[in-house]
Amino acid sequence: MSHLPVLPIVLPAALAAFILMTMRHHLELQRIFSIAGSVALTAIAALLVARASDGQVHVYELGDWPAPFGIALALDRLSAMMVALTALLLLAVTLYAVGAGWDARGRHFHALLQFQAMGVCGAFLTADAFNLFVFFEILLIASYGLMIHAGGAERLRAGFQYVAYNLLGSTLFLFAMGALYAATGTLNMADLGVRIAQLPAEHAALARAGAALLILVFAVKAAALPVHFWLPGAYAAAPGPSAAMFAILTKVGVYAILRMRATAFPESAPALAGLSEAWLLPAALATALIGAAGVLGARGMARLAAFGTIASVGTLLIAAALFTPQSAAAALYYMPHSTLAAAVMFLAADMVTERRGDAIAPGPRMAHHALVAAVFFLGAVALAGLPPLSGFLGKLMIMDAARGHERVAWIWGVILVASLITLMGLARAGSDVFWRPAEGEGRAENREQDEDDAAAGPGPAAPAQPSAALTFVAAFALLAALAALTVLAGPAMRYADAAVAQLFDAGAYADAVLRRP
């Protein structure tokens, strides 16, 4: 048995503890080890993708106890892809945090970031529902620390609300686990699927309640409409790089919905018939619309990025809710796009905030004005789904997958209208922030010519940047990943198709995890 599948969990966990214990007062050392750890995680993720692309489900039994008695990790194409996405995002966020000096404004930033990566990778790899809860808690605990990093009254208030909301979500998660265990007697995802399919009628109600509660919890994590209220305030108040890392957290919710519906809650089971399609699709449609409206109405850059995240999660959830092989493949293509685009927007928002404050209003010219504007506008093109970048392809595929659906008019209408509103909101914000000089500062227009004027405007901002270059490297690396996703759309789509074929083959997954012949 190869130990590769457990490495994305063990490496960040060990590294985080190591950073905490041996170099808590040495920021330079922390930076070196954190970046090295992120690079190593990326390399491991690449190996995992290579390993998973043979089409097998690779099972890793912790402590060598056979499932369902022990806890198993399962690596397939979908989880390998998500781990790779996490590693890439972690690397870019680490570089940005070092470049912008965010890690120097409070303690333990790098350790928390590594713990967060551990929780996210674990959530993607585990094959056990209760273990999924534990990894959710790990990533949440780390996110609490990252969210209130560097302190401040507003951040602490938003942090309290975020923690309280998520503790409530965790409690619901446990209620769901209890109900599912009481009904089926197992918490292994594959075993759950097998047992729910043959559940006697008298236990069906309990299993159904548990499954519905569980999907509701994942909807909370994904910030779907009725339960999305925690996101804008929390992400807008969080430090920029933390918010960029949080872009993957909503995707953990979407991933869990996809995984659970495919593996543990087979729609064919009489106990679960019609469990989620009645409300998941309307919720997703409403999420996309409310996110777009929020983008249009946002008065601060960070809030703009937060609502942009909600809009793209809504689009992603539409594809996840349709749950046909074609729509799930479109969802898997859109997933990395949506994560990276949201992260770029949070980084762009942080760049603007660092230089001249968060407000979307005409203001003084910033340091590196043209570069920041480039990051923002490229990110906006990606987030709104305009043609050159992958968001356009992703939305097109989702709409294509919805063609045979009975509510196709709604789906097309919402995706198109939401994209238009998002585009308007982003264009408004971009032109206000980057192209319109502040009142009484008409001279700024004349200086528009000399780009990259590091001397900056007369504004109050432009604090000493440890390394502005590094922040741009991080942001453009994410944009380059988006461009690569566009150029290599063919291979990416083939991978997504194969991943979905594997995801929907619950029998093969159960055979591998439960060691059935």
Partner: protein, 125 residues
């Protein structure tokens, strides 16, 4: 016994939800703790209630109770305990930095609008 147990879980949950909807951070934290007690009891009962049955091998035992929910509850207790400590610390530092412990208002928001401030003062009494 089942009725008593179920009522206890229900009562704890109801009190917890009532308290989370309060607008000061202290009742909210107490409410979250009550909810976590409720869910711990619920998890415990998910392996069916049994009296005087050992969970692990024991000589002369007439029967066994399900050990898995006990392990789950242990994990859940540890996690909810840690989480409560975290949220208490955040609430404390929030209270110390913004001089009020409202959950809903933006930090320092009470100072901005004069209408809210007296009400908040009175509540704090």
């Amino acid at each position: 016994m089942e009725l008593l147990f179920a009522s206890a879980v229900g009562l704890l949950t109801a009190c917890g939800i009532y308290l989370i909807l309060r607008r000061r951070s202290f009742p909210v934290i107490i409410g979250l703790s009550l909810l976590s007690y409720a869910v711990n009891l619920f998890l415990f009962a998910s392996g069916r209630l049994a009296v005087n049955r050992p969970p692990l091998l024991h000589e002369g035992a007439a029967g066994y109770t399900d050990p898995i929910p006990q392990a789950l509850v242990l994990t859940a207790i540890v996690i909810s305990f840690g989480m409560t400590a975290v949220i208490v610390m955040i609430a404390l530092s929030d209270h110390l930095t913004s001089r009020d412990d409202r959950v809903d208002a933006p930090a320092g928001g009470a100072a901005d609008d004069g209408v809210e401030a007296p009400a908040a003062q009175e509540d704090a009494r």
